[in-house]
Symmetry: C2
């Protein structure tokens, strides 16, 4: 298994527009894209920072995974996503190591899972 | 203010040796350095991943910031550190924006502060 990079750090926020404004003012950065991902119950904004991203996440409804995270832990870092060279090899390796996979997305060369909190 | 990269993601763990072993098995990565930072009450291991790092942190004593974090929130992501082009300009900008700076280290071109949780 080869980790290429930290693809993104997912950060749960209550108000996506407010958070984007805060990152704009504080760090002078802008999202490169913003999208609603119905299947995960989130709206997200990806902010490129060097070779990685900060991904701001806000829940579409309270009973979603990010909604529950906000209710119990408040705003803050939610997951860490590594870009890998070979997603199939990575999943086989992680399964063999007994890692519970929170979720993953079918983007080429990227596996996302929730970090143990 | 210019963010060069995500320098590291700090992750609080209870047992540094166990965590290093877990990262070795699960992600096949190794720390490039490990050190005790008495002034911050931590022992830390830096694991290079692409242009960034995962920094595993364990408290030297319970009453340290990381010790208190573990007691209240458990193991997990503790802070996000950006590498910046000009640390003095970054600090002036952040102060002007009213950002409370949790901490920073006197490494060239790096500013570290605790992310809002």
């Amino acid at each position: 298994m080869f980790l290429i990079n930290i693809d993104h750090v997912g950060i749960a926020v209550r108000d996506l527009d407010a958070a984007i404004g805060e990152y704009r003012r504080q760090y002078q950065v802008e999202p490169s894209r913003r999208e609603v991902v119905e299947s995960q119950g989130v709206e997200e904004a990806m902010i490129p920072i060097g070779g990685s991203h900060v991904q701001l996440l806000t829940p579409l409804f309270e009973d979603s995974p990010v909604g529950k995270f906000l209710a119990t832990r408040g705003e803050g870092m939610h997951h860490l996503a590594y870009a890998v060279l070979d997603i199939d090899a990575a999943l086989i390796h992680l399964r063999a190591e007994g890692v519970r996979r929170g979720s993953y997305r079918l983007r080429p060369s990227e596996v996302t899972w929730r970090h143990a909190h």
